[in-house]
Symmetry: C2
């Protein structure tokens, strides 16, 4: 019995299905998942109690059954707070289904073992009780509307009712798959049936929710219950959106109007050719579109999902896999609008990207989707979770400047124990808890390994143990533990970042090119067979395309799937990373540091410290102004040169013309800096950080021996070898 | 009688005062002011009627005197809408005081002549009637609170009551100075007296307004009425701010809380060392601080104003003079956070910067402040006003990408006839109407010309006529029309952008260095004396400091005080400016184009069209991913090189490793592009625009003959002359 998210039905068109057996029991992700289980998930109920989320359910139950007792008001600022509870619950259920501490020989049978001596199971039971007690007789359940006399289904734009219902459904599906219990599933079905009775053409409400989420959830409910109405309802929501049903006045109480793109109501998803608007809303919607395409074979939905995924990857994704450039509206920006400093790149958007990409991997069987999943997991996603499992980033910039003062409420500044809008932490928890199920698929011909982690993966009789120290080391050893007698393929994704590799079977090198990103070994495997993949893991410098203005003249350090960054705290003399220029010809060196940040490999690089600006001469405007003429002072003007007559000499001369304009001074001291994985940043202090590092000789008019005279304007002077060409 | 804004009292410590005579009657600004008077101001009442602002006043009058008739609800979304009316009124009054079409021999006597056959005066009278009728008996006046049963002084954070009062006061001062009438002044005084009775330690309210503005206004009221209480009230507001009186709960109705910096309540202005928070709020507050320092001699306020002005100029100002980088909160960003594409740079913030800088110029007598005023006026400010006088930009980015779709409500995209939040248009109108009064001052020793415009300027008996075609031409001719017998200084600001100049008196070149930006000619002038300043006006390339990440590897075209930009519509074959790299060694050429954009000088430059990206090979992830290894495919790895053993050959090779990574291709066609002044952009279509232009050979690893092999990582290969050093 499969106990993870996203389970296509037998009738789905998807060529790939999640592997029935998927367990991570060692290495990088096992440690992150251990912290997730032992700290984040274990402390979740406390957080939800402190923030008032659970009290809202109890108050709603009291409102329903209290016989006149006055329940307290809704606690908190946001209508969608129930979803925090549902997401924690979903995460806890996936964790309970995890058998990495349990019986390794029978890992794919859910047995309720949670590695917590039953404490997590007890917490789950208690939360399920609280939720079930709050549900209205007619199936409706959202504490924000049940408390304070608010009327349901009157605020489709801001109410988040279907969004919350979606998370309830996903939690219920997880609860069912993990424990076999139908208790929460019954609650979810009653709500889904209520929604089905209310929503639709000619029914009480004919619109969608301002925040997509119900679409994927209803399809998962369909997959779990075989009740086709849920699939039809999801399809209705997918098709209804984009026709203006959320335009001004849709909410009875009105409220702020960020425009139709915000809630993905600007165009039907089938017609869209650009990812836009609120990033999480966009990607949850597309995850639903991919699920629907899988279950219905709808070619228009599939084409839209492929087109929009490609648009996202080509023009709107950060090096870290993070998406959603804008603070304003938590939105995708224009194509190539990818600022490092003001990258919003919400943690939830990275998670949504993984959700969407994984569904596309299943729908198409293509490796490219898991290339993005890998990059996102190791960088843009993981940065959102503190190493301690109890602090979080909501916003994940690629550049943080040193600041004289901390701005209160700046969520990009440092890790926070919880948020007023706490969507991200439980979302991280559920992805980490479900992570093994994103690692492997079964296709018609065999087992596909999408992500590399130590553990056991298998399907259709082919079971393998993977052993790897990835991402620190590039060796992935795959031992066959069980195999059917017939020939099967064992396919390993060759990561897109990897320039060279070797593949060997039982010690003999295999010669063969990857096919669309897959290295396939097909044979009648026998237990004991070993496939070994070695990926070249030298650190590398990566540059951005010319339209990515924010990274011009810079390179980023990467190694394997990891993006690196300079944190001020690691640099000699507390060097501000903004004062550093990287020498692209100096070697990068790797050091394994078990003591640092939970155990990382650092990469050190060499470059120049930017020399102090020279003292400004004079006290005029130019001394303060941060812009300078290119090649100022380099060009004595000939007498009588237009537009001046010969009689008008002498010219006064500006003193600042004699001051060379310093961009990146080669006179700066040569320094060695140390880069750490981006995912681990902001776990020590709130100092400066950079991913994109200016290169010496790039983006600089005075660097590497080219004097400030280089680039002078139409001087006609011989510039010599050092002149720019 | 001085008929402009900002009139220090005789007791003020300011070394400079606005020149008593200041009239612009020809050239660049005269034309912009003509459009302002004939179109923008003339159509203002229509706009205010259509948006409901004037109806709100009539409704408030009805509520006050209607004897039970039910007035309509407040029309519009914002409590501060009365201020739109006040700002238009202030602008109309300054325009009425303008005598450029009237009696040139006696320009400094306000005579109510407005160049509109009295139509503007009639419109002013009508609006004054509407305002006066709405005022409550106790002096209170804000239609948002007078309508709909809202209670005054309960929402200091969002209510904008003192903000609106401030604009009323400024309109009243303008009305009085322009017409001599005390009618609106009486309304303003009654409101100011009411405020004085309500606000203060131990009084009904002991806090400030969420939006500074009353401070400058009350000081102008003091200057006009000599009533010291108004100065004291302004000082109270300045000192009360920054002590948390606007913290959570200050508004009875609560509302959104963007944090204390937003309303400048995070720190007392005297203690601040960084401009931060909402840009307009910050700069209106600092304008008030400068006024207060002028009138009280308070050294702490002056030091804070100087410090914060310098912080702004050094770290948070765009090349255009625009300020306020962030959409989110319309706020200053961190130091050097100056994105071109997402520059918010609200038109009102540019105006606020001029207000603040002008007050600093008066307070200190220093030229630097007027350097910033000039840059801001010609670029960041003027871009906000459409050439037609009836369309506007609220947001003024320095880069606009071509977009497949227009985003609804995107205020940075195209010019708009009016805004739901219409603060900018009437603010532009009042600055243009008052513009002559920002051009000249009188110091103890003579007349100082801060800005160059054709017109008449004078003070203390020294009157000059300035003739210039600035900013298209660098010649400024100053003819003395009247002079006292004693020696006086005639001081001309040498613009900070200017590398060379000549100065001549009656045809004889003068030799002498500028002192702190001033070129002073001191003598007993006689009528007929002519001082001629010639400023070198070759176009130039300007680069940004190394911390300005958003401009790395780029240069901007400037000429004189003007920043230039590439608009797609002007380029050969509709070249997208994002596909262009500028050759810094190719000459820039200037062409006067009377036919274009109301008459501009264009600057043409030469560079390379970026070559089309090569066809991606294969269909994998790397084909879409916009990031590439630096020097990918350049480095054959030796057999047995760690971390691989000798037995593990052959390596598989990635096909994309053979594809050079293109940053700026030198194979691109050589093209000549045409730049137009930034202020004139977005007056034709909504195509792409850039100010910062990537340079060939900069920010590019493959440009100017350096192959993609340059910069390859620790290869040990000889790179030859083309290698980066």
């Amino acid at each position: 019995m499969f106990s993870g998210p996203v389970r296509p039905t037998p009738g789905a068109v998807s060529p790939a299905r999640p592997a029935g057996l998927a367990r991570i029991d060692g290495g990088f992700w096992a440690e992150r998942r251990r912290v997730n289980a032992e700290v984040s998930l274990a402390e979740g109920p406390e957080r939800l109690e402190a923030a008032g989320n659970l009290a809202n359910f109890r108050a709603a139950a009291l409102a329903r059954t209290g016989g006149g007792a006055v329940p307290p008001d809704f606690a908190g600022d946001f209508p969608f707070q129930d979803s925090d509870v549902y997401k924690w619950l979903e995460a806890a259920c996936w964790q309970m289904a995890d058998t990495s501490d349990g019986d390794p020989s029978d890992g794919h049978t859910p047995d309720g073992h949670d590695g917590h001596d039953g404490r997590l199971a007890a917490a789950v039971d208690a939360v399920v009780d609280v939720i079930a007690a709050a549900q209205r007789e007619d199936g409706y359940l959202q504490t924000y509307y049940q408390l304070g006399g608010r009327e349901p289904w009157t605020e489709p734009r801001w109410g988040h009712e279907l969004y919350c219902a979606g998370h309830l459904i996903q939690a219920a599906v997880a609860h069912h798959r993990a424990t076999g219990s139908g208790r929460l599933l019954a609650v979810a079905r009653r709500f889904a049936d209520h929604i089905d009775s209310v929503f639709g053409p000619g029914k009480h409400v004919d619109t969608v929710c301002g925040h997509p989420e119900a679409e994927t959830a209803l399809i998962e409910l369909y997959r779990t219950t075989s009740e086709r109405r849920y699939l039809e309802l999801a399809r209705y929501f997918l098709d209804r959106r984009g026709h203006g049903s959320l335009s001004a006045g849709a909410d009875r109480g009105h409220g702020h109007d960020p425009g139709p793109e915000y809630w993905q109501d600007h165009t039907p998803v089938r017609a869209a050719d650009e990812v836009t608007g609120h990033a999480v809303r966009q990607l949850y919607l597309l995850a639903g579109a991919a699920d629907c395409a899988a279950e219905t074979g709808d070619p228009g939905l599939r084409a839209a999902a492929e087109r929009l995924w490609r648009d996202m990857v080509t023009t709107k994704t950060y090096l870290t896999g993070g998406v959603g450039s804008r603070h304003d509206g938590e939105a995708f920006g224009d194509a190539y609008e990818l600022p490092a400093d003001r990258a919003y790149t919400e943690t939830c958007a990275a998670i949504a990207s993984v959700h969407f990409s994984w569904r596309m991997a299943l729908l198409t069987g293509e490796a490219r989707y898991s290339d993005l999943v890998e990059r996102t997991l190791f960088n843009g996603f993981l940065a959102g979770a503190g190493l301690d499992g109890r602090t979080w980033l909501y916003v994940n910039p690629l550049h943080r400047r040193a600041r004289p003062h901390q701005r209160p409420g700046d969520q990009s500044a440092h890790r926070t124990p919880w948020f007023r809008c706490a969507c991200c932490p439980p979302n991280v928890m559920r992805l980490l808890a479900a992570l093994p199920h994103y690692a492997a698929t079964t296709g018609g011909d065999g087992l596909y390994l999408h992500q590399y982690a130590t553990g056991v993966f298998g399907s259709d009789g082919l079971t393998v143990r993977v052993t790897t120290d990835y991402p620190w080391d590039g060796t992935v050893t795959v031992n066959v533990e069980a195999a059917p007698e017939r020939p099967r393929a064992l396919a390993l994704r060759l990561p897109a970042w990897c320039p060279r590799y070797t593949l060997a079977l039982n010690g003999t090198a295999l010669d063969g090119a990857p096919e669309s990103g897959w290295l396939r070994v097909t044979r009648a495997f026998a237990p004991g067979d070993t496939v070994r993949l070695d990926l070249a893991m030298e650190p590398r410098l990566t540059v951005a395309g010319p339209r990515v203005d924010a990274a011009r003249g810079c390179a980023a350090i990467e190694r394997g799937p990891l993006v690196y960054c300079l944190e001020q705290t690691d640099q000699p003399g507390g060097l501000d990373p903004d004062d550093f220029a990287l020498d692209p010809d100096a070697p990068l060196t790797v050091e394994r540091r078990p003591d640092l940040l939970g155990g990382v490999s650092t990469v050190s690089a060499v470059g120049r410290r930017r020399a102090e600006e020279e003292e400004p001469d004079g006290d005029g405007f130019a001394a303060d102004w941060p812009y300078r003429p290119l090649g100022a002072g380099e060009r004595p003007l000939g007498a009588g040169e237009p537009p001046y007559g010969a009689g008008e000499r002498p010219y006064g001369e500006r003193p600042y013309g004699e001051r060379p304009y310093v961009t990146t001074r080669t006179s700066g001291e040569r320094v060695r800096v140390t880069a750490v994985p981006y995912y681990a940043w902001a776990n020590r202090d709130a100092g400066a950080m950079r991913v994109w590092l200016p290169l010496t000789g790039q983006g600089s008019l005075t660097a590497t021996g080219r004097s400030h005279g280089a680039g002078a304007l139409h001087t006609g002077e011989p510039g010599g070898e050092q002149r720019l060409q």
